[in-house]
């Protein structure tokens, strides 16, 4: 066991934990006043729900002994055998790894909530998120990191491009379509009620993402440092290119654009961060900013109401990141990885492509089924009147601000 690596993973876990409330603020600032609490709650309560799910069954489903490349078995039910000692070959306590991974499991369904913000029933959201975590996140996590087929295939996903971002982005698309547009769509202006809150959230996301990406090295070494560096660079560049793109497109650079771009850059670098160089990160981030800016413009054209642009940012950004890994990966950075197309290995791009398609397909289908069932049981959407009064009052009997 190595104390340095252990601190690194524990602190990283703490940083990733902070991302979930950070996401709550990021999202919460973008909705209208009357929905701020319900929106933040979507993130916050998942810290409770998914933690319980994870320690009971999620961890073992994801990282337990493999069943057919598809899922882990229940050997580590309720953390049985997940103790203070390192597992073989590891330099950190097993429980440190488990809790680090727990934070990833939490934030993934929290990301989806941006798609159905301002109109989802709280009970439906709870059931959906829990079931989604079990039936979508856990298998995906196992496929990529837990000994499943995707990792075995050679797909590179250092910190969760497919597992976290593409999966949630795909789910978001289905969810936005199935729950339908917000009341007043097209005529009402859904202005963000508190952009400083959104920027604060973006800052916490950026901060926490260092733990997310660099922490995924699971050791405080050069690879971790590289992951840290490319993460920062990608976010920085994407913030810039998003702002420049909108400056040219709509005439003004916006702070929401800068915050959104930063997140887009973080998303895109996530799968790549353990395999690419700083210079590649500039390109990956730069393209992410422009691409995701395009991504958010899509929804207007296609006519679904993905309230807070989960598809545009996590979906598009995640796909770009997974493919970019297939382009820019280099064994000079990580000998345990592979080379990408630009380093002479076009096969990797194909592997990445397959992982993207598989993840999307799986998430699409499962999300659709889960939502259908939840809709039958409790109904997905609040009543019109409740939506008008806002979900803070109608779902939680609270208001965000009083005097």
């Amino acid at each position: 066991m190595n104390a340095g690596d252990t601190v690194f993973v524990l602190v990283s876990a703490a940083l990733v934990m902070l991302m979930t409330p950070g996401l709550g603020l990021f999202y919460g600032g973008m909705v209208r006043n009357k929905n701020v609490l319900g929106t933040i709650m979507h993130s916050f309560i998942l810290l409770g729900v998914i933690t319980v799910e994870w320690v009971l069954i999620g961890y073992t489903m994801s990282f337990g002994p493999d069943i057919g490349g598809f899922i882990g078995n229940f050997d580590m039910f309720a953390l049985k055998g997940v103790g203070m000692e390192p597992t073989e070959g590891s330099t950190i306590p097993h429980s440190a790894f488990m809790i680090f991974q727990c934070m990833f499991a939490i934030i993934t369904p929290a990301l989806i909530t941006g798609a159905f913000a301002e109109r989802m029933k709280f009970s439906a959201f709870l059931i959906f998120s829990l079931v989604w975590a079990i039936l979508v996140y856990n298998p995906l996590c196992h496929w990529v990191w837990g000994g499943g087929w995707m990792g075995a295939d050679g797909a590179l996903d250092f910190a969760g491009g497919t597992v976290v971002h593409i999966s949630s982005g795909a789910a978001a698309l289905i969810a936005a379509i199935m729950i339908g547009k917000r009341k007043g769509y097209g005529s009402t202006a859904y202005l963000p009620h508190n952009l400083p809150m959104t920027i604060t959230g973006a800052a916490l996301l950026w901060f926490g993402w260092f733990g997310f990406n660099a922490g995924s090295a699971l050791a405080a070494n050069g690879l971790a440092a590289n992951a840290f560096v490319v993460t920062h660079i990608s976010s920085a560049v994407a913030a810039l290119t998003w702002v420049l793109a909108e400056w040219m497109h709509s005439g003004k650079p916006t702070t929401l654009g800068a915050a959104s771009g930063a997140v887009a850059g973080l998303v895109a670098i996530t799968p790549a961060c353990g395999y690419v160089s700083p210079v590649s990160a500039i390109i990956i981030g730069g393209i992410a900013g422009v691409l995701c800016f395009g991504g958010i413009m899509l929804k207007g054209k296609l006519g679904y109401d993905d309230s807070l642009d989960v598809v545009g940012i996590h979906g598009i950004g995640g796909i770009w990141g997974a493919l970019a890994t297939g382009l820019f990966a280099s064994v000079a950075i990580n000998p345990d990885g592979a080379n990408g197309l630009f380093f002479g290995n076009p096969g990797q791009l194909w592997i990445q492509f397959v992982s993207v398609i598989a993840t999307m397909a799986f998430s699409f289908v499962m999300t659709f089924i889960i939502l259908k069932v939840v809709d039958l049981i409790v109904g997905l959407r609040v009543s019109e009147e409740d939506e008008e009064r806002g979900i803070d009052i109608s779902m939680h009997n609270e208001t965000g601000y009083n005097s």
Binding site: G184, T188, I393, N397, E398, T399
Partner: protein
């Protein structure tokens, strides 16, 4: 000249504004108010303590217009602001003695 004070539901503001604009109303003033009336408020709960909040957020419109316009304006407002449910709001008509446009010093009809 009359002043219309109109209490409406918040999300009807744009509709009403457009309706009045179409009628030729050139200016209006809007503020956020809270209303108490037939429409019930809501309950809030904080740490187990329940509070009954009787006031509902509403929008108040103030429009000064020539007397001739009033009748039609009221019709438009009713049309645009009505949902048929309680809490739709009210129109109060008050007399106005004069109007002055600060910029030009114009008074009366010209200043509206």
């Amino acid at each position: 000249m009359k002043k219309l004070e109109v209490i409406i539901k918040s999300f009807k503001l744009d509709d009403v504004k457009e309706g009045l604009s179409a009628l030729g109303v050139k200016g209006l003033t809007v503020s956020e108010v809270k209303g108490f009336g037939r429409q019930r408020g809501h309950k809030e709960i904080y740490r187990g303590a329940e509070y009954q909040v009787d006031f509902v957020p509403k929008i108040k419109l103030e429009v000064i217009m020539e007397t001739e316009l009033v009748e039609e304006a009221c019709k438009v407002i009713q049309e645009k602001a009505g949902t048929g449910q309680i809490g739709d709001g009210k129109i109060f008509i008050l007399p106005v003695e004069d109007v002055i446009r600060i910029r030009t010093g114009e008074t009366g009809k010209n200043a509206i």
